[in-house]
Amino acid sequence: MNKEAKAIILYHRSYRKIAGSMWDFFLQFLLIAVPLSLVIVFFYPQITQTVCVIARALLAPYYPDDTLRIIQIPFIMGPTSILDLPSKYPSVLFCTINALVSLILLVLLPAVKNAKHLYIFVIVILFINFMSSLFFMFFPYRFPYEVVDYSEFYMKQQINIWFFVPIIMGLAILPLPSDLTSKSATLLITFCYSLVFGATRYVVFLFILTKASLLYMAVLFFVLGSLVDFIYIVGIYSVHVTRLAKKMKGDFASWKWLY
């Protein structure tokens, strides 16, 4: 028997599993993911204050003096800061144009043969925009929010997102057999990215709502809000796992079989 040849026969993928244990995973989760989430729990007042200061600095050139105010509202473990801006309601003409464009596209899009996966996503956006346009056309006085309400909800939701990003990424990444540094770095990168992305989106959304109108609040909230967050979460996860998969191809010690 050729022992050397036999020594490099790879296990079949069917019953392959990884070296490592659940206890290691739980320990890593407690030591890496949970502390990042706790950073949000204990420091969100300072973080939201910083986000608001930056947002105000970025938006200031586009608004008259004294219209941008940072206010504080109570939240679970302490006050959270938000930016207060003037609301802009859409005109009837603006609503009608939006409704018509949305409707025409809603009718035309199903005729598209290719890329159905994309157009269904677009249809969801158009449908929400259409509903929002109709609402503002017929019941503008019943729209229950001002920009400051959205600003508050966004910030509260963002605190939740910042809190859950390390948890979600921790659950996904930490069981994998990559080295601890790599896993920690991935979690930290995702966490930092979520902070920067959340702040940037805050500025952009407030700008759209105050300059374009409240009409787009529903679309921004439902389709371009949290949904976008897990695209980058999954994106960063996929990069991490791709690198790991390449590395593990030649790393026999990482694999176990059956037991």
């Binding site: 890329a115 996966h117 996503f121 949290s226 998969a245 390449k246």
Partner: protein, 425 residues
């Protein structure tokens, strides 16, 4: 109005509970597949005497693929004394009949069944073939499959265990590189088989017989009345019928077989709508029998129920989205601030029977596949696509139940030999 808001809030809560349950289920499967003891299939008795088998291949206008599968089955290492191959020509209008007759003239163990009367469709075709089959075990392949040489032995061997009623092998797309759709379907299949099915097998829950690359005992199915021709998901129905009658359904991860996945979104839409219609039809019929079966453990019943509901979840999510929209315009946005992110994460992670991102990533890692994992974020678009067409299938199933209308079988379009390539994006 307060009652309406209360009801809408209640529905949102219900949606969240469903999402959390499926999130936990998929996560447990993923951890089990990574760390748990893997329950091996019956490889250690691979040299035992094997039972006689009848290989059934339902075909409706399959001239593009018929020769491929027959050539491969002829090359199988199963003893030719113990095998018969029954390609079922089910109302074909192309050259399928001619091809089958040609093979029958060359190989005595190929016994085509030509059907041009009675009900059309896979369940009816299988029933007809089961009546003339002589093998103790029935093994089924769809016509577009490419069975490897040793797969018949791999599938048949488990039936030496008298408790086993059916077995399912692993399905792997062969046309993965065609376009983004085939690549995404490959990801879904990888997660669904390498992690989901194997974990359910490991945990002694309810692996699903998938209607192809699998087998079952002829006599048992015959005694149970054959396949119900009114149900489109005859495979799911068989899984439940066997399980509630005390038979075990196994999963053989090592029994890999290549298939052709849809290359066009229209074909995929029809396929998934049909699956949803069929699966939900089974759900309506089997919830109570499953819960009252004396042969299943508590956790098998729980898993069986969750498996039965998988094509309901997208419907719940779509209505949940509409519900959320209504709450938004009613001034209830604040209640989303804490949970909306989790709803989306959960929804995206636990969609139907299609694996969540961490499950797919784990499966690709175990498979040793690297580059394809980068496509994971694109599964988002499948999320909306599946949600829409599965909901349509659910509505179809509801109408089936209410009107007792007869279901019409729709075959998935084939793409082999370069056909339809002009429309591939």
């Amino acid at each position: 109005m307060e009652m309406v808001i209360l009801a809408l809030r209640g529905y949102l809560l219900f949606t969240i509970v469903i999402i959390v349950i499926y999130f936990i289920r998929h996560y447990v499967f993923t951890l089990n597949r990574l760390f748990g003891e893997q329950r091996i299939y019956y490889h250690d008795i691979i040299d035992s005497d094997l039972k006689t088998i009848s290989v059934l291949v339902p075909m409706h206008n399959e001239e593009k693929v018929a020769t491929n599968i027959l050539d491969l089955l002829v090359q199988s290492d199963y003893s030719k004394d113990d095998i018969e191959i029954i390609p079922i020509n089910d109302f074909s209008a192309d050259k399928t009949q001619e091809i089958l007759d040609n093979y029958a003239s060359r190989y005595p163990y190929i016994k085509p069944l030509h059907r041009y009367t009675g009900d059309r469709g896979k369940p009816a075709a299988l029933n007809a073939a089961i009546r003339i089959a002589t093998g103790e075990i029935i093994i089924v392949f769809d016509a577009d499959y490419l069975p490897p040489k040793d797969i018949l032995k791999s599938i048949a061997v488990c039936f030496n265990d008298p408790e086993v009623g059916a077995v399912m092998g692993r399905v792997i797309p062969i046309n993965t590189r065609q376009n983004i759709l085939t690549r995404l379907l490959d990801l879904e299949r990888t997660g669904g088989y390498q992690v989901d099915q194997q974990a359910r097998y490991n945990l002694r829950l309810m692996p699903q017989y998938g209607g192809t690359v699998g087998g079952f005992r002829r006599k048992v199915v015959d005694d149970l009345g054959g396949f119900n021709t009114k149900i489109l998901a005859e495979d799911t129905e068989l899984t439940y019928r066997l399980s509630i009658n005390g038979w075990k359904v196994l999963y053989a991860n090592r029994a890999e077989c290549y298939e052709e996945v849809p290359e066009k979104w229209d074909a995929r839409a029809r396929q998934i709508r049909r699956w949803s219609r069929g699966h939900n039809g089974v759900m309506f019929r089997y919830c109570l029998p499953l819960l009252s079966s004396p042969y299943l453990s508590f956790r098998e019943k729980i898993d069986g129920m969750l498996l039965l509901q998988v094509y309901c979840v997208p419907v719940i999510l779509l209505t949940g989205l509409m519900n959320s929209l209504a709450l938004f315009f009613l001034g209830e946005m604040e209640m989303f601030s804490g949970v909306f992110f989790l709803i989306f994460i959960g929804a995206y992670s636990n969609f139907g029977n299609f694996a969540p991102f961490y499950q797919v990533g784990t499966a690709c890692l175990l498979d040793g596949a690297a580059q394809r994992i980068l496509l994971l974020p694109f599964l988002l678009f499948n999320f909306f696509f599946n949600m829409w067409y599965i909901t349509k299938g659910f509505v179809d199933a509801c109408i089936d139940v209410v009107t007792w209308r007869k279901t019409k079988w729709q075959k998935t379009e084939r793409f082999r030999n370069g056909a339809n390539k002009e429309s591939v994006s």
